[in-house]
Symmetry: C2
Subunit: 345 residues, 2 copies
Amino acid sequence: MTSPTGRQPTLDEVAKLAGVSRSAASRAINNAAHVSAANRLAVERAVRELGYVPNVTAQALARQKVGAVVLAVSDHNEELFGDPFFGRIIAGVTAALEDTDLDLKLLLCHPERGHDRVRRMLRPPRADGIMVMALRGDDPLQRMVEKSGLPTVYGGLPLHGRPEWFVDVDNRGGGRVAAEHLVSLGRRRIATIAGPADTHVAVARLDGFADALSVAQLDHTLVEHADFTREGGAAAMERLLQREPGLDAVSVASDNMAAGALQTLLQHGRRVPEDVAVVGFDDLPIGHLTQPSLTTIQQPIRSLGYEMARVLLAVVDGEKPSPLLLPTRLVVRESAPAPVSLAVS
Amino acid sequence: MTSPTGRQPTLDEVAKLAGVSRSAASRAINNAAHVSAANRLAVERAVRELGYVPNVTAQALARQKVGAVVLAVSDHNEELFGDPFFGRIIAGVTAALEDTDLDLKLLLCHPERGHDRVRRMLRPPRADGIMVMALRGDDPLQRMVEKSGLPTVYGGLPLHGRPEWFVDVDNRGGGRVAAEHLVSLGRRRIATIAGPADTHVAVARLDGFADALSVAQLDHTLVEHADFTREGGAAAMERLLQREPGLDAVSVASDNMAAGALQTLLQHGRRVPEDVAVVGFDDLPIGHLTQPSLTTIQQPIRSLGYEMARVLLAVVDGEKPSPLLLPTRLVVRESAPAPVSLAVS
DNA sequence: CCAGGGACTGGAAGCGCTCCCGGTTTCTGG
DNA sequence: CCAGAAACCGGGAGCGCTTCCAGTCCCTGG
């Protein structure tokens, strides 16, 4: 277990101890062909005896591969970080990387600052591939990533363009289901608080909303945008009430905004869900805390991270995986209960 | 801007173009001494012309340094990730690394699984230093980190032992201030919901609680432990009420648990703060949402990340920085308002 | 019994950079 | 004007690994 020198044992030492050439030792360790069973065994023994672990840096240099992938997150307002999103994404990514011997590097990019750092990071050989998340309208990060030529997987589509590889949540479907639920409750004057207009996720959820209301032949122009924060949601709700005091339902594009909207509604004396039904999006823990608790669209955050990494691994290995759209699920709680019509009958 | 070959330009090409030796070019680029102004200029021009960026892998191999530090988080129950903690820590760490050209690697360690991966990661030359967070009782991670011999900074003290380098929040002070606030409100039957007994943060906050009550000559044995979750907090509150129906205040070691405790209190017909005053810990967004809003102890999460990285950088550079204890701050909201006695007087 | 093919083997040439070191040039002060 | 120091320069030996390739050896089928 102790290397002769104070440092880590090297391949040479392993080879010497095993009585073979360095080449043979290398082949044995990477279990390639052209190694006799005897030698392979000898090498394995030597490895164990010395506690040898390949020097990844040297491997990287020789193989012209890095042994790491980066997760790049565009960090506007730490918005993503106010939520538990981030941690779950990372948990998923980590799980997918578990048995690959690839390291995960993290790259937080402020849209305005630190571009040099980002550019450096993206230039090979700093990583073998990259996952990008949470892009805004025309985030400089997108251009930089494209220029880098690195295998790239998008977590959530960018506003413009359709990258070759991505994993996204079915935001449009989720938006539709949310609105459909409100329609099924018999609501007729349905509004929505959408996310920032320069994000694909907001646009998609809004499209889904419009889909559902069109099918139901309802007006779907009662839209206000906000920035995914609680305060933003509260303000947007204020504007909606001003535009249409008689609205009887609102589909909100995030739980945080929904929490804000709830507060505004209560302040204005509306009862939820009696007067106004509310459905959120995300299924954050916060949804249990609001009064009333929040009906919402659950999205598989952890899976998003997991699948992103899986797709990236495939791409890095030269495969052509197909893009993925992960399903959402309606979670019914108090703010927009199940339709009674279906209850017994 | 285009390298002659399809690949990235190398130092040799730069040197050739600048008409100097590779050594000189290297010195110029790392702006070391012993380069004439003229040559330095020529090299700089060549670098710009070729768009040269040093190959970090090769540098790493030659310098016997990696160019990356790791942030290791012990991942029990994704507890840390339910909160916005994680993102803020990372934002802080990233800020501190901003102009160092060091990459940040992330290591999520399940206490039971994935040890091999962790061990590999910790063995040089996979990183130049490591930051460890959120250790439990005797987390295997701690032993592994210690064995690795890598420069290590602890974010939050471990339960056992006192590492040479760490950054922590003044949890004991925070616990004390919380309790003092309740005392100053005239409360006499003060309970506490502490965190898991096998974490240093829980123990420290509890010690602070005991400090304050001892000084005030009040009983400080009304203690229940929970796991930092809302559900856990609710259950613990239940137990406390059973033990002491007449309690008039409770200091809770996290906002999440406090949110749960509030629910339990309301369910049992207690008015907050009239019957029972409540103070939390953390200052998470959730504290604005509860009914009533939550008085709490704010802790500088982002700074914790920032300082951790700063200390690590210093250690890696061979310095001997002193450990840091970051201050907390009482944030007074509705669940435990400011003492009236001091209001006008 | 022998040619030919396959499975092995180890030497050596990298991967792209750092850094030591002996040698040359230039500058300074006496 | 000269010795000695200081500044500068480039050759070359690594860092630890992979991988090409020319060479051995053994085994088969004709």
